[in-house]
């Protein structure tokens, strides 16, 4: 049926050094994690794949989850389903909630953490949550025969439109690291499916520490899957140090400040998405107020 299209060569490295050798010999090869994003592209098959496919499925060192007193490290080939079953001891609540709502169990078994973070043009809820949790990603760059390793904060992996910023050289995300000190208020809300309704979807993640009725270490990220990946340092610093409850008028003002900021920086966001984002942000502050009043 598809005559003239050659079957791509499958390279199956077992270790990172084997991967380095293959990446050097076949610089154009496509790196394959879970494959759910690559295969859901309409032009995926039949098409010519230059230099073949590097299948990461056999690399055991990318499938480990380790934890110590300070942080958790998760290999990039761990699936969403495996990570979710690691449970409460290893994962903060917000990450568990993100994984649960990421997709159905059938899809979660296939989606890998590294694959989800390295989707080139659409930002999903996992990137949003990990940015809020201040997670770091270990990226290995392969140039010529040399390998260099960098730890990059997840929030710096993407540009403001949410596009992946790994540069021109061959790069591999090998693991992520999440610190175990996080706020006692964590929340993620995803409205609409980021894959099926990309143009209407909004993802908002928020975490903060509350001590004696004041907010500390506020971290907040709002994502519009194919349009924007927004972290407002200005709003974060305004909120940090505020005393709870925040006056409803102030909540309203802050939420409109967010809208102004988003409109100024990202013109592609629709009015519906802006309003959804604003209301979700407001609801977090109202919930914080309610919690502080009920204590």
């Amino acid at each position: 049926m598809y005559e003239g299209i050659r079957s791509p060569v499958i390279h199956a490295p077992k270790t990172l050094s084997e991967f380095a050798a293959i990446a050097w010999r076949y610089p154009q090869a496509t790196i394959w994690a879970g494959g759910s994003y690559l295969m859901s592209q309409s032009e995926y098959y039949p098409s010519e794949i230059k230099d073949g496919i590097i299948d990461l499925g056999g690399m055991e060192e990318l499938k480990k989850i380790t934890r110590n007193d300070r942080f958790v490290e998760i290999g990039s080939m761990v699936t969403a389903s495996q990570l979710l079953s690691a449970g409460k001891l290893v994962l903060p609540d917000i990450l568990q909630e993100t994984l649960r709502t990421l997709a159905s169990q059938i899809v979660r078994r296939q989606v890998t953490i590294g694959g989800s973070l390295c989707v080139p043009d659409v930002r999903l809820s996992l990137s949003t949550t990990l940015a809020v949790l201040d997670a770091m990603a270990e990226i290995k760059y392969y140039q010529g025969g040399k390998v260099s390793t960098h730890w990059i904060p997840i929030s710096k992996l993407y540009d403001r439109e949410g596009k992946l910023l790994l540069g021109e050289q061959k790069a591999l995300l090998t693991r992520i690291r999440i610190g175990l000190e996080y706020g006692d208020y964590q929340k993620i809300v995803t409205v609409e499916d980021p894959i099926r309704s990309t143009d209407e979807c909004v993802i908002v993640a928020f975490q903060a520490k509350r001590s004696q009725n004041s907010l500390n270490k506020v971290q907040f990220c709002i994502t519009f899957p194919s349009k924007a990946f927004h972290i407002s340092k200005d709003l974060e610093s305004k909120l940090s140090g505020m005393t709870l409850p925040i006056h409803p008028e102030r909540v309203n003002t802050l939420s409109y400040e967010l809208v102004t900021e988003l409109t100024k920086m990202h013109s592609a966001i629709s009015d519906l998405q802006l309003e959804r984002g604003r209301r979700i942000f407001e609801s977090f502050l109202h919930e914080l107020n309610a919690k502080s009043l009920s204590q």
Binding site: Q41, Q96, S104
Partner: protein, 183 residues
Amino acid sequence: MKIECTIDGKALSLSVNSNKPLSLILMEDVGNKTITSHCKGNACGNCIVLLNDEAALSCVIPAFRLKDATIKTFESYQKTRQYRDIERAYQATGNTPCPNCFASKTLIIESILQDLTSNTRTKSFGTNNLPLRMEQTDEEKLDKKAIILELSLNTCQCMDMSEMLQIVEIALTYRRRKRVRRN
């Protein structure tokens, strides 16, 4: 690329492009009649198969990941005893999915039933990472939110979600009764 795998109980050696999706292999190379469309990434959820006994979307599984795999499509699944539970639930409620999504929805329900009844499999789909049962003490309480998330994988609108939930609940009762009788 040559791939050895078992499809619907038959050991096959297939010569296909290494990146060809399983759904296309089933349609074009095996001649399976239960998978009728290839949505090319539109996430329609109409191509569910059981890959090594776990439900999977066949349109996102490439040929090179099928080495020595066991694939069960609806064609062979409908001859099994497990299918009887779901078929009886369809009859009991008087609702059946349309012919387009019948195979897929049935296999999704089977996957949910397996997760609800299996003791040995890792259960990770309900609230707080618990199985779909809300509380272990109360078997009747199901995490409906998690079940709806599973069922919504198939986008066909032929049935209401409450009807689908009812089918799952009834099929689960039949499955449990069968297990009790066997024990």
